[in-house]
Subunit: 342 residues, 4 copies
């Protein structure tokens, strides 16, 4: 089968012919890929940002944002059957460790992360995953239409869901970056809270999209964004700041925009926070880490998607055009999310 | 009356003769001071760390950690009467703004902070405060015995109380610094949770005290403390780290000791955090700001103190010896808390 | 001035001429009434249901759901000024007891409840209340348009707000009764959650209104309502049931419609729950009490109202027609809320 | 092997010779029983209280509170091995449904309950369970010493853990019934909170035991218990009431002892609550259902037990003396818990 494989850091991945994966364990599931999202993390992987942390052996297949149809199942699989339409949680979990037993399977002590850590991902015809990663969908769903919810979506939803108790009427939430994740985050905020949503982005088209998706105010990231947010919040700053960028200075600005007793959610990455501890304690502000989400987060997000409360702005590319999709993302030419379709 | 007043930053405060304060508003309360705690923040004030932030006009009287007896009350005061023994919340609040109405009076939009921000503090014979700052105590309480709970105590209690849901049996909590605040924090942790308490301090006497107060493990801050905590937690790090130091490198170590999905509580200050956003998101760790606490935090802490669950290790100095007390604190010669007694 | 006064239980209140109220305490506020809502509780008061509990001395003026303009203020009032448009929290609180300090002013140990407990209410030209009850509004607001939010609104909002964490996507919430409170509750649910809303009412017009306000399914309370809810929830029952009736059998049906591990919210009253403890424990269901809400609940609700997310269906009557309004409510002839306008 | 089997409701179970259970599924585990607790629920089963609800086919083996050693495992079991000492969660769960994925495995949609619902329990030499029910223990633990934690313990712990946020310093918690569950609940309260613990029991020995385990006040259930609790709480009632009896009138008294805005936890069962909805709403009290607990609840409780914070008062009987143990329990002759040892 075809697969988009990374052979060396700092080089573009290439489309190789590789053997199809095979079921080994009783809970294994082989999925025929219908759509695989292209994520800023793929760019970061290629740049080597994750190399030391993951120690992944090259070459391997990229693609951690996948949906498709169940192609084959191990003998112990009871929750899905061959032919089912599924979206895949990016991190198959063990189900037996403390975090899994507590519903926090995102922090499974034995989890895998195909496409990122030492396992082939879904930019290919088929993917090996497990029963615990499969969320069953309405059979009429087109996997390419929803694949971006498997990572961009779940990550945005997870962060928003954690913030719900903070976002009661009268509060303000800033969204930094209305791209692949941010444009989903805005919809989740609009669906789940009545907070005032202020979107900050440097791209006018992204701001326009944000406005259509439920943002109440749009702020151009032209250097005056911190002042603009202060102005819109009566000098207080925002109760919650969701930073889907967190690099190139956005991380410092994001913290600066956060109100006394407020929370700055780091969702994007790449930059470095530098904050005097006096600034943290004198205002009692919090910095909240976020990565992907739980299985139930994904299941809940699919309910929102099914109800039309979250819709994706995608652009599809054939698997062979993976390099083009990555280049478009890197150059800021993708509104919403790029999806590879085998 | 006598008062310990700061005339210039970077110079020691001096004991001056000043007029007694007078009741002006209907809710004003004059307290005859029985004990005023000496806090690391007083050192930071003298060093000018708060100068830009507070814009306080010099000279003024230090002392933000006070207890005593009600001496005079305004016509609208109903909750205390002349002669009552009281401990004082450090930040008198308005009672009418959003945060006050929500029980979060620490973030009152109109609060004062005597001894820190533009108001004379309690290192004096008398202090002007308001009805909303007064927590009434058993008349047999000696104010000098409990004064340190008014700021060191409430701050430690507030941080611990916020962390209770994270500290179920099987978890681990690191306490960095077993000094004025930390030695109270340890007792609050032992009273309110069943977490495993690991204390990190560079001073062997402080570690010994920690052990007596309920710590389960003591780690010398001799350069190997991060490794030691990792070792004690099976390589995971601690679920919660309470950093009562947060300067001189403790802040970086504190974050490093924090487990995946864990929380690093910043309570001390003076240093600067430098953290790549990738480190925040890849492990979903949180950095939690903490400052003082609510009125109810102080009232609850006094219940613990009354029940003997939190006891203070103090050393008293006469008001005239304020400079000596500050010097002892700066030199690390105070176990527990120094208290000025007029 | 004119006032609608209850002279005897089981008799209709009458419009009397009485003296205007006067400011006595420093925080007192006199409000010129612009609108006073007519509530099912007024009927229950007349029926004597509250007599034993409140021990209110007759005669007194009814009306616990009021909005208007500040007419006169005591010397200590700082948050409102003469001429301000205000909506009034129904229970002026002391601001100094434990619940008040914790933001739970609904459970103030010294609160009053004008129009219900031993104080004249707002079915009159003027009402005596206090600074802590006043929520300041946009001066263009017409008090008669929003008065019903002061009790019906805050009560519905308070219950919904408590339930938000339970109402994530994929859950179901039943609303029993789409009348004065229920029609606001439906709008709050739609604004603050993405739960599936099922409305149960015996009146077809009420169900039609519910549909327009955001309900997803309408169930006629024709005897088959429990079965219908079970059917709509795949036999599970609803995760949350909000019972705005809680009398005449609705209370037993409401608990029966509640899913395993779900919550039954009692908001209306008049009936009696009879539940074997085995039914409570074998399914781990909860029964949640609800009464009115906090000051901040009302302030937040006014944000929703100002944004057009909650609109009231009202019918106004002149003060002199109070008896007619009460009769219409009793007979089920009011869609939404009846409002008296002096 | 031997097994204590119920052949008919309202008749005593008898010790039969039955075949040993065999591993069928990949996740099955056979446990050699070291101790099986005797529970009031066993009496209720014999009395037929659960007959209609569970539709269990007779005869079957009782015993839902078990610990022992792993005897045989299915091919897919990875978390325990033959010879491991284990305590067993009473309700093996599927791991794949929504509640399981959310950490709420007590509400697994496909769970079993050996010894209660259609599956043989552990009053026998061997028990068939699954990998998901096994909590691995220190090999030196004697199963008979801890077996009572598998049901009595987890149930008491679960209820207390849910109440922790309500039980801050200054609050009061009433425990009704200091028997099998209650004597564990008292220890959990003392280990996890700093609330004031008032124990109500009709048996003087039980009150004496409660005192040793951490209770602050003892109240004889002699008819004056509601008045006594009111007196001890300044007329307010208790913030939380944990009713481990909930029959024979305790259920009405328990609700009556509950303070305004407080919570009444139903843990025992057998009686019927009769409460006017006006009493629920006028004070905003809650009635909280409780049954058993999650896998993680049991794991956490074992941490407390291992640390000596929760100790059991037990009396062992040989398996053949099951009838005697049941009779002793029924007659109130057991302090703590009766344990059958094969």
């Amino acid at each position: 089968m075809k697969a988009v494989r990374l052979h060396e850091y700092h080089q573009q991945p290439v489309v190789d012919e590789v053997p199809e994966p095979a079921v080994k364990g009783p809970l294994d599931v082989i999925v025929k890929i219908g759509g695989a999202g292209v994520c800023r993390t793929d760019l970061h992987i290629i740049e080597g940002q994750w190399a030391e942390r993951t120690q992944t052996v090259l070459p391997y297949t990229l693609g951690h944002e996948n949906a498709g149809w169940v192609h084959e199942v191990g003998p112990g699989v009871t929750n899905v059957a061959v032919g089912d339409t599924v979206i895949l949680h990016p991190a198959p979990s063990c189900g037996l460790c403390g975090p899994c037993r507590g519903g926090d399977d995102m922090h499974c002590e034995n989890s895998a992360f195909p496409g990122l850590v030492n396992r082939d991902g879904g930019m290919a015809d088929f993917l090996l995953t497990t029963a615990r990663a499969c969320v069953k969908l309405d059979p009429q769903t087109q996997p390419a239409d929803v694949a971006a919810l498997a990572d961009a979506g779940i990550t945005a939803y997870h962060a928003v869901r954690k913030a719900i108790p903070l976002l009661y009427p009268g509060t303000t939430c800033v969204v930094i970056g209305a791209g692949g994740l941010g444009h989903i985050g805005i919809q989740c905020l609009a669906a789940l809270t009545a907070t005032q949503i202020i979107v900050v982005d440097r791209n006018p088209d992204a701001l326009k999209l944000a406005d259509q998706l439920g943002a109440h105010q749009a702020v151009a990231a032209d250097g005056g964004q911190v002042a603009a947010v202060m102005d819109l919040t009566g000098g207080r700053g925002a109760d919650v700041v969701m930073d889907f960028v967190a690099e190139q200075g956005a991380e410092q600005e994001g913290f600066s925009m956060t109100a006394r007793a407020g929370c700055y959610y780091v969702i994007g990455y790449g930059g470095e926070l530098r904050i005097p501890t006096l600034d943290i304690i004198s205002t009692e502000r919090n910095i909240i880490g976020n990565i992907v989400g739980t299985y139930n987060d994904l299941a809940e997000l699919m309910v929102l998607a099914q109800a039309g409360r979250v819709t994706l702005h995608t652009r599809t590319y054939p698997l062979d055009a993976a390099a083009e999709a990555l280049a478009d993302l890197d150059a800021g030419r993708v509104r919403g999310r790029a999806i590879l379709v085998p």
